[in-house]
């Protein structure tokens, strides 16, 4: 898929409402933007210079027509920037640079997809699920959370509650599978009978430790795994070199920009 070139836009909040521990925010922007699932925006919705830097948020959805667009984000309040975002009201201004980064790739050969979201990581994988659903591709979603009320609302799940498609996992067993999303994935792998090397591919986003466990499961079985990484970012579009992560380049390890060469990396390249 082509990855559109970024622009800096001033938007206006349409709505910004909390749903459990997550906020979902829709922003009106001057242009419709196209994006690849896994791409993100740098968001700053506050006046003044403290905090100074914009915050990266995955693009959850985009809509509208030429000359009038909307874009949606889903976020969890974890610090000052996200707290400030959660205080914004309809009509408030917000600045966005988007779409940014290298999103998930969808090569044609896979016949089945497993999408894994830990915590708020579903914000990157739901757009992928929506795209696959649009292509009537075969996919399953694994969602992990500490407890039941930290799972996203059911109506946000692309494709809806097709039986067997959505695997909810909670660390405390209050909903779905009792255990981590990685454990659920291990179960699923045990039940899986590969008919060819390219049959299943995994897209995952969540805490780094989770991604690491998923990689340890998938890579030995030659399951292709793409992971979306997080990092502190200053610019988000490749100029500050602040966001790097170590990746393998032949024998060596080199630092690549999470905002530019990532956030989605082939799990085989990542130095875990």
């Amino acid at each position: 898929m082509p990855q559109g070139s970024p622009r800096f836009v001033h938007g206006t909040i349409h709505h910004n409402t909390g749903s459990g521990i997550f906020y979902r925010m829709e922003v009106a922007i001057p242009e419709r933007i196209d994006f690849v699932p896994g791409q993100f925006a740098m968001v700053s919705g506050w006046p003044g210079n403290d905090p100074l830097l914009p915050r990266p948020l995955a693009i959850f959805r985009s809509g509208g027509v030429r000359g009038k667009g909307t874009v949606e984000f889903v976020y969890k309040v974890v610090g000052r920037g996200t707290a400030l975002l959660s205080g914004l009201h309809a009509g408030d201004p917000i600045a966005l640079t988007l779409p940014l980064g290298h999103g998930f790739e969808f090569p044609g050969e896979e016949r089945s997809w497993w999408l894994v979201g830990g915590g708020v990581g579903f914000s990157s994988v739901f757009p992928a699920a929506a795209a696959l659903d649009g292509q009537r591709a075969d996919f399953e979603i694994f969602l992990g959370a500490r407890t039941r009320d930290q799972l996203p609302p059911g109506e946000w799940i692309p494709g809806g509650a097709v039986p067997g498609r959505v695997h909810l996992c909670t660390d405390d067993g209050t909903a779905g599978f009792f255990g981590t999303v990685a454990a659920a994935l291990r179960d699923r792998i045990d039940r899986w009978r590969p008919t060819g090397p390219a049959r299943v591919a995994i897209l995952a986003c969540g805490p780094r430790e989770m991604l690491k466990v998923v990689a340890e499961l998938a890579l030995p079985l030659d399951i292709r795994l793409q992971v979306s990484l997080e990092s502190y970012m200053a610019c988000g579009f490749g100029v500050c070199w602040g966001c790097v992560t170590a990746v393998r380049d032949g024998e060596k390890s080199v630092y690549r920009r999470v905002c530019k060469e990532g956030p989605v990396f082939d799990a085989r390249e990542v130095v875990w």
């Binding site: 970024p6 700053s44 403290d50 100074l52 100029v239 500050c240 630092y255």
Partner: protein
């Protein structure tokens, strides 16, 4: 009725002519290419490219940046592809942008600085070389040369001899007397001084008991440092006759005008590019609007006109 003549924003840094006084600061603008989606970079006074060293440099391990009140600390450690790849792969593409380019250079030893300067002298696309004698984020070189007049003088003299390009020397703010440092650069043959580079700072996590940066310390930039930068630029302007380029926390036309008012020949914009990729263009437009409003016809009529009480 005659049309109002648009104000003349053109600036000069020694022999380098700029269509306006607003440049991007090194390390915050890549090679300029990442900005082409946002605007036509030939509208800038100049683009200062990311610091170049003799050999490709890996840079510091992450975490490399941390946000602070109205500022940020960075400890990138000058990750770059090295001067050779720059000359072969990047330089040929620069002409396409149509902008004025200045290379920012860095070495661990005087010899490395000389070698980089010498190699870059062959690149026609470069209007000048900015000698980074003030990077706080590398173990050797950089700030070690920049924090005392003798060290800076020796380095400047040698690099001066190694290149025919105009030589700008970028000064460290981590000094007792910026005027003396600026004079040392001037006497050693610099065509201009540019300042400030970042101020050395630190941040820790009281719970994990660890520094937030893998490099422990980093360089502070952004609006937080602007009052310090402005004071140092003012002092440097009083200390030397060569042009002074003002840098540090500039975010708006009002900020840029402040540096020009105290005597800067031009300014550079760094951290502000991160939150607002259009920052430089908005600053240029804002300066033009201010000059129109205040009926100032040329930048030179405004520069260095700070009024002090007797």
């Amino acid at each position: 009725m005659t049309q109002p003549v648009p104000p003349d924003l053109s600036a000069r840094v020694g022999s380098v002519h700029l269509k306006n006084p607003v440049m991007s600061a090194s390390g915050t603008f890549g090679y300029g290419l990442e900005f082409t989606p946002f605007y036509d970079i030939s509208r800038l006074g100049a683009v200062i490219v990311k610091g170049l060293s003799l050999l490709p440099t890996q840079g510091n391990a992450p975490v490399r940046i941390v946000e602070t009140p109205a500022g940020m600390l960075n400890a990138i450690g000058l990750q770059n592809i090295g001067v050779e790849r720059f000359v072969k792969e990047v330089a040929p593409r620069l002409d396409a942008g149509g902008a004025v380019y200045v290379a920012n250079i860095y070495g661990r030893t005087i010899e490395e600085y000389e070698a980089v300067a010498r190699r870059l002298s062959e690149v026609p696309a470069l209007a000048a070389i900015e000698l980074n004698a003030s990077c706080p984020n590398v173990k050797e070189g950089g700030i070690a040369f920049g924090s005392n007049p003798q060290g800076l003088s020796g380095l400047t003299r040698r690099v001066r001899a190694a290149t025919g390009k105009p030589l700008w020397v970028k000064l460290s703010p981590n000094v007792s007397d910026i005027g003396a440092i600026a004079r040392a650069a001037e006497e050693a043959g610099a065509d201009a001084v540019t300042l400030i580079n970042t101020i050395v700072g630190m941040a820790v996590d009281p719970r994990t008991r660890r520094p937030l940066l893998s490099n422990v310390t980093g360089g502070l930039s952004g609006p937080a440092v602007r009052p310090v930068a402005l004071r140092m630029v003012w002092e440097a302007c009083k200390a030397v006759k060569i042009p002074v380029v003002g840098i540090g926390g500039i975010q708006s036309a009002v900020d840029a005008l402040g540096f020009l008012l105290v005597g800067a020949a031009a300014v550079q914009v760094g951290t502000a590019n991160f939150r607002n990729p259009n920052a430089c263009i908005e600053i240029i437009d804002g300066i033009r609007d201010f000059f129109v409003r205040e009926k100032i016809s040329r930048l030179d009529d405004y520069r260095g006109t700070l009024l002090l009480r007797e």
